[in-house]
Symmetry: C2
Subunit: 340 residues, 2 copies
DNA sequence: AGAGGCTTCCAAAGCGCTTTGGCTATTTTG
DNA sequence: CAAAATAGCCAAAGCGCTTTGGAAGCCTCT
């Protein structure tokens, strides 16, 4: 059932039927009802390929997926996707993932924009002066950044959480508990979120006249193994930290294992706070010692990004508003006063 | 730069240019070279919307993503996606995720097929008599199933691992070590993979004249918390198991925690074998006691599924071949002889 | 009563590609 | 050597939609 058949059936022109269906004003309400009724009865659905060719709009949002043998998509992605899907489902949006060589994403961005394959894109894990942002900005496709960049000479729309604030709070709490030697086990410090977190911890320390020693900060991809290694290294220092702030629950697993291996205890010998993105399959309250966390649902962020993308596509959102979500600090058993 | 401009520039018809580019035989090789050369020089890329409208082919593969508030996409998905992306990237395939209400995926399948939005789809986490398979089979779109169904009256192409064989081996090893009371912590037993795994364990026990008691098998979604709960329950039984086979590394984390909570040890009091899908961020050799596993890379499966989908799209693969990968049993410190 | 303005509809021109059917040389065949 | 086959190219007809530029009919003013 295509437009021609439907309009023949109604003894109307394709023009009128098309307009009736798309809500244009220049059609009699009575006629519109007839058309919409017939369309529904016959299960008419406009062919998206044709519509796309005519309008240049695809009804899809895009994501360039960095791939490569050395590239692992991290598990945060899937949670974000859950949220995105929640919203997209109820708004008939599809998501197209365009795999790209991690070292050359530009070609792919150019392709999907030139081909009008998607109406909008989102970008995640941005870095300072991220070239992708400059690119999509000049390409002129609607986009939203999940996270933030820095050092760019233009504004852009984003959704981020207050990473600096969260880790500042975490640091402050530990200092209040009398800890003097903090350490930070961070994610990849080329990404802005990691930079912000480090900044937050440093700011907390500075307020107490302390600093974060170079040897007291680790930046690694967020695996259990890296958490373990970082903790072993930190706890093997001459002046080991009495408290650790950690960027990921998965790394925290490794930290806990390292502490055990060394015969130490949490929070007796070490206080631990980690960031929790809220995975359904790994919850901080279920750690051997319930884990204090800075908590922010990445899934909700996914839904919100989808919502804003949809708004931008339909022209409801304009400008370059940045949205920053506060982060909860949830105190559980893994923190205590500094050991004497 | 579109086809018309390019053909004008070459003083050829659109027909000839199109054919030259698409490798049709009725064009002089000399001409073809000229055309391809000019196309490359001017960066001509056929507009996919137009091509799709004309041919009905989209160059994309589809996946219907079950979503909903109660639905979590599990982290396996992202690893599978990594593999899929690896292959897709080098073959200019995009993946479109169509979010659907988990309880009504049929509508979405029908839509993407009717609209010719994708050239092929894959289906994951199949169940016995899975209606999705019957559906896509009758809809006539090329597809591959990751996993297997059962009880269907038609054949279909799939890629699966030998879940039954793997868990049979795991069970057999434990029996050889003198264990008499095995337990199974499984995934959702509505899914075929879980059924196969249980079958494998039962078969191993049966060969020794033993059985798997009802109370010795748990079927739960694969979270750390569920692993913990299952283990607590099992180890609290009158005749607790001396060995557990577990369907997931994430659940195994919970098992390990439960064992610790109870003051027991692995492998002294309990032997443990888990299935490892090979996540980069959680490795069995890094468990407090290195974990024995049945191991199969879900990422490689993703790449293979993409490869076969591409082959089916281009007509290189036909029929209903099922492909079953063997699974390695990797023995590490978490198994030992049964306690006296 | 004629000009101007709405309302409501339509024919036809794209959008950029593929594919059908045909045409002209050139080569092969009986 | 005429007939048939082949190679190489082209014009034009789709694919199914949106949108432009009217046009007819009916009011409303002045």
């Amino acid at each position: 059932m295509n437009l021609k058949q439907l309009s023949d059936m109604l003894a109307l022109s394709q023009t009128t039927v098309s307009r009736a269906l798309n809500g244009y004003p220049e059609v009699n309400e009575e006629t519109r009802r007839r058309v919409m009724d017939a369309a529904k009865r016959h299960g008419y659905r406009p062919n998206p390929s044709a519509r796309r060719l005519a309008t240049g709009k695809s009804g899809m949002i895009g994501y360039v997926l960095p791939t490569g043998n050395a590239v692992d998509i991290d598990p945060h992605f899937v949670e974000f996707l859950s949220g995105l899907g929640d919203y997209a489902r109820s708004h008939d949006l599809d998501l197209v993932l365009s795999p790209a060589d991690a070292d050359d994403q530009e070609t792919t961005y150019r392709r999907i924009v030139a081909n009008r394959q998607v109406d909008a894109v989102y970008i995640s894990s941005p870095r300072p002066s991220d070239r992708r942002l400059a690119l999509v900005n000049t390409l002129g496709i609607p986009f939203i950044v999940h996270g933030r960049s820095e050092g760019l000479d233009f504004d852009y729309p984003y959704l981020d959480i207050d990473n600096e604030g969260a880790f500042h709070e975490a640091g402050r709490l530990l200092l209040q508990l009398g800890h003097k030697r903090l350490a930070l086990i961070n994610g990849d410090d080329r990404e802005t979120f990691a930079i912000h977190r480090e900044r937050g911890v440093r700011r907390a320390l500075a307020a107490s006249g302390l600093t974060l020693g170079e040897r007291h900060v680790c930046s690694l991809t967020m695996t259990e193994e890296n958490g373990y290694r970082a903790a072993r290294r930190l706890l093997g220092l001459d002046e080991p930290p009495t408290a650790i702030v950690c960027s990921s629950l998965i790394m925290a697993l490794g930290v806990v294992r390292a502490v055990r291996d060394l015969g130490l205890t949490i929070p007796g010998d070490l206080s631990l706070i980690a960031h929790d993105d809220v995975f359904p399959w790994l919850r901080p309250e279920n750690f051997p010692v319930p884990l204090s966390t800075t908590r922010s649902s990445i899934r909700l962020a996914g839904a919100r990004v989808a919502e804003r993308l949809a708004a931008r596509i339909s022209g409801l959102e304009e400008g370059t508003r940045g949205e920053v979500w506060p982060v909860d600090l949830v105190v559980r058993g893994s923190v205590a006063g500094a050991p004497a």
